[in-house]
């Protein structure tokens, strides 16, 4: 079985991919904190532009980000609308005075929230798509995240492929004996699900034995040699420059 939906773009070669995973995790967290604390639209526009530049540098196809943005858009607008309604209730006078004040409050509330959500989605998608899942977990471990979280995540990552494999096999066997593609009988759902679960559990037991036979003792070993490079230093300065630029523009305005 061939499936690469998790690490689909993590093997591309770009400056973003070459950054140390720790740098990427730290920058992403910092970026998210700064973006959520900024309220003005020009400031957010600078960060959005910066995020888009990073997306382009990363060589990860733009449609991948657009898909994620499209996915989050209804939620983003719904969320903003709720905030806007509560804003209107709170400032009921502005609603009745003129169209201008309504327009102003829309700009003031909905746009920054949507922008913040878009920037956050871009940054998180960029982090996940430009870093191998394993490296991401390694970086989290190095940044002192609890080992139970990273170990469990890694086990889930391992077993998710196994589950998908078994699901594909079972569905292939089912389709080979049914003239129509959809599952026609409700009863069939039950037996197929049970079959997939039983086979997955069986295989997961074998995988666990294979891990044990190679000395696994409950914690995954670190599998990479990663060191901070000059590229990480350059990225740090670039990031600081963007923050200073944003602060300068906000101050000027």
């Amino acid at each position: 079985m061939k499936h690469d939906f998790i690490d689909k773009y993590s093997t591309l070669d770009s400056s973003v991919h070459r950054l140390d995973p720790r740098t990427k995790v730290l920058f992403s967290l910092l970026f998210l904190v700064i973006v959520t604390s900024v309220a003005s639209i020009p400031s957010l526009a600078i960060y959005l532009l910066f995020a888009l530049v990073l997306v382009i540098i990363s060589k990860v196809p733009i449609h991948f980000f657009i898909e994620k943005i499209m996915l989050i858009t209804p939620l983003a607008f719904l969320f903003s609308a709720f905030i806007y309604i509560s804003y209107l209730i709170e400032h009921s006078r502005s609603f009745s005075i003129s169209m201008f004040s309504i327009h102003y409050s829309v700009l003031d509330t909905i746009v920054p929230i949507v922008m913040k959500i878009y920037i956050s989605v871009l940054i998180v998608t960029l982090l996940v798509s430009s870093t191998r899942f394993n490296d991401l977990l390694w970086a989290l471990r190095k940044l002192k995240f609890p080992s139970i979280v990273t170990t469990l995540s890694k086990l889930v990552y391992t077993y998710i492929f196994l589950f998908i494999d078994e699901m594909h096999r079972t569905m292939r066997a089912y389709r080979s004996r049914t003239p129509i593609r959809r599952i026609s009988r409700i009863k069939a759902y039950g037996s197929i699900t049970a079959g997939i679960l039983t086979r997955s559990m069986n295989r997961s037991e074998y995988i666990y034995k294979a891990m044990m036979s190679r000395g696994f003792s409950g914690e995954f070993p670190e599998c990479r040699i990663n060191r901070f490079k000059s590229l990480d230093i350059i990225a740090l300065f670039l990031f600081l420059a963007i923050i200073i630029l944003e602060k300068f523009i906000s101050w000027k305005m």
Binding site: M1, K2, H3, D4, D7, T11, R132, F133, N134, Y157, T158, F161, L162, D165, R203, Y206, I207, K209, A210, M211, M212, S213, R214, G215, F216, S217, P221, E222, C223, R224, I225
Partner: protein, 252 residues
Amino acid sequence: MENVIEISNLDYSYPDGHRALSGINLEIKKGEIFGIIGPTGAGKSTLLQHLNGLLLGNGEIIIDNLRVEKKNEKAIREKVGIVFQNPDDQLFCPTVFEDIAFGLYNMGFTSREVEEKVTAILEKMNLSRLRELSSHHLSFGEKKRVALATTLVMNPQVIALDEPFANLDYGNIMTVIDMIRQLPITRIIISQDILLALSICNRIALLDKGKIITVAQPEVIAANTHILKNAGLDYTPYLQLIRPWGFDFHKN
């Protein structure tokens, strides 16, 4: 030649009560290629899992003067490497490199040592081009070879291979046979393919219904068609199949 594995009175029953192994006594010598053959459900894989403590039955197993028991688990697993029948069960890391490195990291090697050892085994087994690939993207034959590399890199004294020839084409079978023959360690091969087992093993144990029926040289086992027939492993019908093509096994 001294014994590297000694099994005495080994019994094992699964939690559901099914008796998988009964009174197993076996001695395997250092450096030999030892075959364990038997029909499906004979207990071959169960026996194999006892060799590095994945299963612990009643009785005694001594590996290189070390008793297989919970407290010796780590040392035993460094001495005995197991290659499972299905390579998909053996390969669980995102890349081939990490799969091969997994055991070494668990053994406590530093990143630099791991890098060197993995690179060396990949070169030795002609797998360097697969280094950064995901095991999900390999062919079955490649997966088998990578699975073998994951165990060999740990430099075990004994390697136990469960059905190493299953589902392989003839080209890959020959590659695996060459690899097994060249290994300077004790090799245990579990197989249902009696002809392949007979051709490469120094000694063979015939296992049926959880019991050792006989342990002998391949030529002795091959000649004893009666016991092979009783165990459902009679190979002579295969020879009958190819005789019409003008190939006579005995003559050739």
